[in-house]
Chain length 180, copies 2
């Protein structure tokens, strides 16, 4: 196991990492948001069937402003034969960075997503998305993400994300940072 | 109606635009590819239900190396309440550019996708993705995409894509261009 993961496990033991609820709709996650007709699922939860879709669990480290997402793409995320669709990889990266941004800066909208795809992800493989908050400039929130194999020996993708903070009163990062 | 769309309609009348088959799996589109167990659908066709998912039709202009995709996001592509998930927008952009690349350069893999999200897309709205082949350098294939409202008055997103040509014998663009 890479040194990196030993470090993460050590942090987990201290309680620094919190597993996020596996919510199925925006309404469920943010109760102030009205439910859509028919209890519409969040896009990442919209494909039904055990193990066939976006199978993932997210862990947040609020102190480090970092979000880890363990992700296993199911058969229904196929692009080229046997491989995960690049659009599905983009979607889970957006979900990872968006959830990290939500935790740090409140409600956000994606403004830019740039992804380098370095090695294909076979369907059924388990990968680790490591999303980090880099900086907040005004209402612009910059994040980065690496997508690695669970063993840490393959970097499948790297990405940057720019999110726009919708409510300037929710500047959790700046409050904690003293405005840096 | 914008001048741009009059131009497209005029081209359609000449037979320059061909509607692509609405294939549901890679195997169906490329019969040489073995079927996956359970007749696995392509990711963009994996959410079941009339009108709730990626509703789209693609038109190819081989001469112009341009692909138009009419897209209506259904309720199951929700991100923020009432709006299309940015990851779903990334997926349909990847599908549009990948299909254009496949038509021009044969089998390809996404290497980079960079998307600027300029205006949210309400669920149920109809948008037009305009994907264009820009240039082929060795096995690197560069494309661009605009996502506009059907009326042409709102630019929702713009994107660039870099795809890698997997089989160098399939250099359709260079053959036609005399190597430019």
């Amino acid at each position: 196991m890479q040194q990196q993961y030993r470090h993460l496990l050590a942090m987990a033991a201290t309680g620094a990492w919190a597993r996020l609820s596996s919510y199925c709709s925006t309404h469920q996650h943010l109760p102030e948001v009205p439910a859509m007709p028919g209890d519409t699922p969040l896009f990442l939860r919209a494909i039904k069937g055990a193990g066939v879709s976006f199978e993932y669990t997210m862990f947040l480290n609020a102190t480090e402003r970092r979000l880890l997402c363990l992700f296993q793409p199911g058969l229904y995320l196929e692009g080229r034969p046997g491989l995960t669709h690049s659009g599905a990889i983009a979607a889970i990266i957006d979900g990872t960075l968006g959830t990290c941004a939500l935790a740090v800066a409140g409600k956000v909208m994606t403004a830019n997503l740039s992804i380098d795809y370095l090695a294909p992800i076979p369907l059924g493989a388990v990968v680790l998305l490591d999303g980090r908050a880099e900086r907040l400039e005004g209402c612009k929130f910059f994040l980065s993400c690496h997508v690695q194999s669970a063993e840490g020996d393959t970097l499948h993708a790297r990405a940057t994300g720019l999110f726009i903070q919708l409510d300037p009163t929710e500047h959790r990062m700046r409050e904690e940072d003293g405005g840096r």
